[in-house]
């Protein structure tokens, strides 16, 4: 009898506990003995293994601006949304000085607005392949920077006050000299690198 079977046999509350353990495992917050128990549980339960995979994907998506794979976004989003919706809103004072558990508290004690923001981020990130977003094709760096759930909850976004167009200039100027780059990045900036003296009629 292993831990996984114990978990599977128990009531929904135990299943929920198992998921929290898996979530903590994903975040590297368990000791060796707990890791053993969770891995046994993962090997014994397909549902738990799916949850584990989803947790990895969710973490990756929320912490980075990764390329989205085509074809699996919808199913994953539904599971992710259901997971978030079903997660108990634990309201607890934030423990100070425990960086190891910081993400755990964010995960389980995220204020409602932040949870919603996180879901919006995932939905927003997943849209582009088949989505119908008609907004600017090159959103500002500030927009990219802001919606990471854990960062938004903890750190101020330094570049909120910077004119995104100005950062776009730097990005474009950098990509001017980088072969492995998309020329569209340079094209996205407005024509602002000029001096009036250079202006002349086109040939």
């Amino acid at each position: 009898m292993n831990a996984g079977q114990n978990i599977d046999r128990n009531a929904p509350a135990a299943a929920e506990d198992a998921r929290i353990k898996v979530s903590a495992f994903v975040d590297g917050e368990l000791d060796d003995a707990e890791v053993d128990r969770v891995i046994d549980a993962l090997l014994a339960s397909d549902d738990l293994a799916d949850f584990w995979a989803d947790a990895h994907r969710a973490g990756d998506w929320m912490r980075s601006d990764e390329v989205i794979g085509v074809g699996h976004g919808g199913a994953f989003l539904r599971r992710f949304s259901a997971t978030f919706a079903g997660e108990p809103p634990i309201v607890a004072p934030k423990r100070k000085g425990l960086s190891r558990s910081r993400r755990f508290w964010i995960r389980t004690g995220l204020p409602g607005a932040s949870v919603a923001a996180a879901l919006v981020v995932v939905a927003w990130v997943a849209l582009p392949i088949g989505g119908d977003d008609k907004s600017s094709p090159v959103p500002s760096v500030a927009i990219i920077q802001a919606p990471k759930a854990d960062q938004a909850a903890i750190q101020p976004t330094e570049f909120k006050t910077v004119d995104p167009d100005r950062l776009s200039d730097y990005l474009a100027a950098h990509r001017d000299v980088t072969p492995f780059a998309y020329r569209g990045a340079a094209a996205a900036r407005q024509a602002s690198f000029t001096t009036p003296a250079d202006a002349s009629p086109a040939p």
Binding site: I68, I129, I144, F180
Partner: protein, 361 residues
């Protein structure tokens, strides 16, 4: 440019059994290491968790092989006729472009049209580049020391690229209807991204490229969706679409080579493998006198922008856009902006290594 000692490159070439990115093999805690070893024994689970895993086989055997291979890909982009459409994907953005590349006795001629968003096209004749913006009746003129872009790949000659990337073949695939050989360039340390490249088996032209983040998953990709390689190309296909640009405004982007080392700038200890490849003075954003030092390890590049005055509203801090990280900071009376296709820690390291000593008068 004063470049002090480069830290020695890591030499560990051990491949990760599951094919995961090497960065994932560096445990941050003992429990994670324990979990990792358990996960390796549970093959099904590990495959499930490592979405970006790939099974790379034989490594490119010698440094010379690696250099030759990448040089061949680079030359294929410069020395052949081709035309096609490719997409760029980064995070939530996807944009498509059409490229026509023609070679004749006078050199390279290229037309690149952006197919999404505002209409723009780049016409290149060797190093002379003109960007046409019909909506604004504007022509941007640039003369560049280099203008290689996808499907070109390299920033410099890749003479020691295998010190920083582990090259290996990973089978064949179809890209844009052509048979492509995939190669994997795993970063040997955590200070650069990895890459996966698919090049045409017959012509060596790069058909698809992915930048691989530190979790082993793609964070940016460029890929042809259709392409024709070889054959004659009518010269009219590399001319601007706008037949008549009378009355259009012309703006010039001047990029003037300068010696910023003589002006007192140096990078004491750059990220290993990154060497200076270009130093220019240019203008953009309505500001002139912006120095730009470009460092590269052959594939990735880091730009250091130096301005005598901080841009209006500038604040010190970091920013991220897909694989590009940015650090902005003050340095004495100067304002520095470091932009690079490298992890944030590498960009910060470059930022910290910049030094300025006013030249003796």
């Amino acid at each position: 440019m004063t470049v002090a000692s480069f830290a020695s490159a890591p030499t560990d070439t051990t491949r990760i059994a599951s094919g995961a990115h090497p960065a994932q093999a560096a445990p941050s805690t003992s429990s994670f290491m324990h979990a990792w070893s358990r996960c390796l024994s549970a093959a099904a689970l590990s495959m499930c968790a490592m979405g970006g895993a790939w099974a790379a086989d034989p490594s490119v055997e010698t440094s010379r092989d690696a250099v030759a291979l990448l040089s061949r890909i680079q030359q294929a982009a410069q020395r052949q006729n081709y035309s096609g459409t490719y997409v760029h994907q980064q995070g939530n953005q996807m944009q498509s472009s059409r490229v026509v590349h023609m070679i004749d006795k006078t050199g390279e001629h290229e037309k690149l049209e952006l197919l999404d968003g505002q209409e723009r096209e780049f016409i290149r004749n060797n190093e002379d580049v003109r960007c046409y913006v019909p909506d604004s009746k504007l022509v941007l003129v640039e003369k560049r020391a280099r203008y290689d872009t996808f499907p070109a790949l390299l920033t410099t000659e890749p003479d020691d690229i295998d010190r920083y990337y582990q090259l290996s073949f990973a089978g064949t695939d179809r890209v844009a209807g052509r048979v492509a050989q995939e190669i994997v360039l795993d970063a040997r340390d955590r200070q650069r991204y990895g890459y996966r490249l698919w090049f045409d088996r017959d012509t060596s032209l790069l058909l698809k490229a992915q930048t691989i983040g530190d979790r082993g998953t793609p964070i940016e990709q460029l890929a042809f969706t259709e392409i024709a390689i070889g054959g004659a190309i009518d010269p009219s296909r590399v001319r601007p679409t706008a037949a008549n640009t009378d009355g259009w405004r012309v703006e010039t982007n001047r990029m003037i080579p300068v010696d910023l080392a003589k002006a007192g700038w140096s990078v004491a200890q750059p990220v290993p493998g990154f060497r200076p490849v270009m130093t220019v003075r240019r203008a953009f954003g309505g500001r002139e006198d912006i120095g730009q030092m470009v460092y590269s390890d052959g594939l990735a590049a880091i730009s250091i922008f130096i301005e005598p005055v901080a841009p209006e509203g500038a604040v010190e801090g970091d920013a991220t856009k897909g694989p590009v990280n940015i650090v902005m900071r003050r340095h004495g009376d100067f304002w520095l902006t470091i932009v690079g296709d490298a992890p944030a820690t590498s960009i910060r390291q470059m930022a910290s290594a910049i030094d300025y000593k006013p030249p003796a008068k």
